[in-house]
Symmetry: C2
Subunit: 190 residues, 2 copies
DNA sequence: ACCTGAACACCGTTCAAGT
DNA sequence: ACCTGAACACCGTTCAAGT
């Protein structure tokens, strides 16, 4: 493992263990066993390091072995539910990956584009089978991803009622939207 | 205006003008014309000040005069579109208000609860008129708010395709979800 | 009750220097 | 090519002291 990779891994570990405010260049360097400014030999600044962490996270999730068996709609549902579960379980990685990047990082842009492309293709496959309503698959994808993203983010902030009758997990809301879409689909349940 | 209010206002202005990283206790104090640690006489720490900024923002939006004329569904649509427009236009205030609050702030919790309550009531009114599908209004509210929140957040991060055929404004996605809901409503268009 | 000024530990970043 | 150590400006926070 290169020093660069070790720095990225250490930053990711710190993120998981102690949250984003614990990810300091000094702390990362110490964890790898380097002097406090060794990271500057591998990254232009802190933001570039964080972009590398986000890129690694997107690639890791893309390379994860997925059993893509079953109906297209079932595969799509699994993808979105996985997204939401990952966001809720790794809030810091989720917020970092989908945060606002002031500078455009080429690798990060490509990794994010590839991830979205896979999702759009899954939507198109479900549409082709008549399990989802027709229309621009990018548009339907955006709706699904926005709901998943928002449900996860609101849940993380404690803005989704967790008790009583209004109780709704992020995954429940994803299911609700799929129900609506199936109802409007050519082959959907009426 | 009390010193406390002046500090909150200055923090909010800094947020709008230069983003969250520009909101330092020292910068806020300087803007009000106080010494660098005068804010500590009014707030326990920086997080308490930020909670006060978020609370003020929620109350300001709640007190804004709204023409609540028209059908319940139209009123509800306007509420959610306003939310999304506000989020896109004031990203820093939006992210602050709906971020994760590690400590529970009583005022902020109450203001957020009041805002959500108004929204749930608007949903219930639209359901009562048959313009939305029946079911727990808190659940339907959560779905609408999650989609609006996610669409705004993704758009702010540049994760919503802004060009070509897949182009989708956050408000477009809100409209798409309303279309699906209306289609499933008792009095909806088939 | 409210404010000031000095001080501390910490952080991102830069620079000169080492191998 | 990669790393170290000193230094700078900045930040949140604390403390003793002032009115």
């Amino acid at each position: 493992m290169s020093t660069r990779d070790a720095i990225v891994a250490a930053a990711g570990d710190l993120l998981d263990e102690a949250g984003p405010e614990a990810v300091t260049l000094r702390g990362v360097a110490q964890r790898v066993g380097l002097s406090h400014n060794a990271p500057y030999k591998h990254f232009a600044d802190k933001e570039a390091l964080l972009a590398a962490v986000a890129t690694a996270e997107l690639r890791r999730r893309a390379d994860a072995p997925r059993p893509e068996r079953g109906e297209p709609l079932a595969i799509l549902k699994r993808m979105l539910r996985d997204n939401v579960r990952w966001a809720v379980r790794h809030p810091a990685r989720f917020k970092l990956t989908f945060g606002s990047w002031t500078r455009h990082d080429k690798d990060l842009g490509e990794a994010a584009h590839a991830a979205r492309k896979r999702f759009v293709e899954a939507v198109a496959a479900a549409q082709a089978g008549g399990a989802l309503p027709p229309g621009d698959p990018e548009r339907v994808s955006a709706m699904l991803l926005a709901l998943g993203h928002g449900a996860a983010d609101l849940a993380l902030g404690g803005h989704l009622s967790r008790e009583g009758k209004g109780r709704a997990d992020p995954e429940d809301l994803v299911d609700d939207l799929f129900d609506l879409l199936e109802r409007a689909a050519p082959r959907g349940t009426p």
